[in-house]
Symmetry: C4
């Protein structure tokens, strides 16, 4: 079996996740600026979450394209990653509603961490299924941004108990990290 259907199924799940988050943005009960500014925190978290899911989509695609063989372990590792991604809308909605409190921010970090580890695990399972694939070995082995992101997600959890705004700063750093057009990194890491 090729990676085609795995990709298209994952695309479907990610497309639903990324879109449904926007549906948490309920129309305000009043047609006032106050009603709109009330939504602002959720809109900001949504933008960050949209970016994260987008990053996963881009990298997921890159990772699977590099692999030739798919086995049951890869399929389960992929479902495991999708499971964590499917929790992002929950964390997004909670942070959007209670952005000043530590627990939602910490939960967001835990979900991000889970997704990061699941992505790493998927890479390992792909390597095990394709032991002689040097391209894949490079993609998985040099995923610097992925590792840094995972560490930052881990940091964001305790930081939420100092102040949740520190966690949010870390999340923004992660998002920005993936936008940096570092040509040297782009050649060696999992960029498209």
């Amino acid at each position: 079996m090729g990676s085609d259907r795995l990709e298209s199924f994952s695309d479907g799940v990610i497309a639903v996740i990324i879109t449904l988050m926007a549906f948490e943005l309920k129309a305000p009960a009043t047609a006032t600026w106050r009603g709109l500014t009330h939504l602002l925190p959720l809109l900001l978290v949504y933008m960050v979450s949209f970016t994260f899911v987008g990053i996963y989509w881009v990298n997921h695609h890159h990772l699977l394209r590099a692999a030739e063989h798919i086995n049951a372990a890869v399929m389960w590792a992929n479902l495991h990653l999708l499971f964590w991604l499917s929790l992002i809308p929950f964390a997004t909605a909670w942070v959007g509603a209670q952005y000043g409190r530590p627990l939602p921010a910490a939960s967001y970090g835990v979900v991000g961490l889970g997704a990061g580890l699941a992505y790493t695990l998927l890479g390992w399972m792909l390597l095990r299924a394709n032991p002689h694939d040097t391209t894949l070995a490079q993609v998985v082995g040099r995923d610097v941004k992925g590792r840094v992101s995972t560490v930052l997600y881990l940091l964001s959890v305790p930081l939420a108990y100092v102040t949740p705004y520190l966690s949010y700063a870390v999340l923004v750093v992660i998002a920005v990290l993936w936008f940096i057009p570092d040509r040297r990194l782009e050649k060696s890491t999992s960029q498209v």
Copy 2:
């Protein structure tokens, strides 16, 4: 007609089902551990349901790939399977909200049973459409895990009236059954 569009349509439906279940996990009204632990039962059932839908996706894919010809009966049998799968989020939400009561647990078992029988029926319809396909005959004929699962789902229904926790134990057994890396089984049953 090939099985391509049937697969991609089924993928789409399954992707929506698996993702929307997570949207039952509403952000707690308070940013407290108490609010989070309140969600724990639903999160646990969601994990089991996610696994079940994942199992169906993996096997569905395997089954359709084994078949060469598709006819109207196969299409309807496939829609019938998707119908039962589409009820899983309902059963999940109900068990998550009322996990201590027998009826939701029994309903979950009935939906699982319905999906299991629909999957078996789909296998038969595929065999009828591809009478000389020996690969398909093997996939359908040796689907041991599928038959055991169906029997276990059937058992989980009356067990819910002893105590729903017995039903949940059976559901976990079904999920674990599909993870066991039984090499011998993997060769003879519908594993990827």
Copy 3:
């Protein structure tokens, strides 16, 4: 441009429509038979709607496969059909909640009628884009079941004001009509 992306986009929309309807089946507040039987009307309408959307999916696929060329008019006619199909969940939820009243039943009939006419229009636009395609001309020209369904949907609207149950009987007739394994019809109409 081929019909591939049109098909896959339509598949996506139809997959979301068919799946989201099930999400109207909210878990009852109590874990009792009474709570479950309260959902029965909605479950029954859902089954009928699932069947209708399934019928459209099967036929839509058949129609597009028969056509070679796609133009802007076909794209808009296709979106027009998807628009009507997207109203089916609304009509389903309304009938499920107020099944004893004429207006929801009549609305269901209007939505069904709109979808039926939109499907016919799509057939004509495809014929105009493929004037010398005899296979397509046969598929569109001999769509007996499609025409009968449209007339029946039209009938169901005034019948709802006699009693909504007459409308529901007509809807069931339409659904059954598409299941009849009439070999002769199957050769001459838009069956898979």
Copy 4:
């Protein structure tokens, strides 16, 4: 990497957006004409939004097909466009609920403007990734309707503060603009 997966992912997101909007059309609590007419404003806005998303789908498809190469910048520009499109259901629901007030109408215009600019940006990124592609240069360079729409969206924002109905008139003009079968324009602009 080709544009295939970018297209299919975008299709998935757009399919979810276009379908979920219809789910804002909640079944009225009463089975009366009054209950139905209450939904009329939302239904009308939904039709306009459905048309807009449909227009983006058609043009997006055309734009990507014209391009040969895809890079990271194109992927991000595409996600940026999808982000704006994902806000359309929010704006639709708000206008549907508060159509007589300026702020929802202005918000709708801002979302439309954002999507229009994001689409233009995507065109530029595609041109940068495919500098010697004359077909693409023509599609992007002669996108008259796209530019006119963007200007009209921009106009609709201040007009909402004169009266929201002026904004709606402008939105209808935009929608109609894309239906006009101007043969000459069709050859030179981004029509299918």
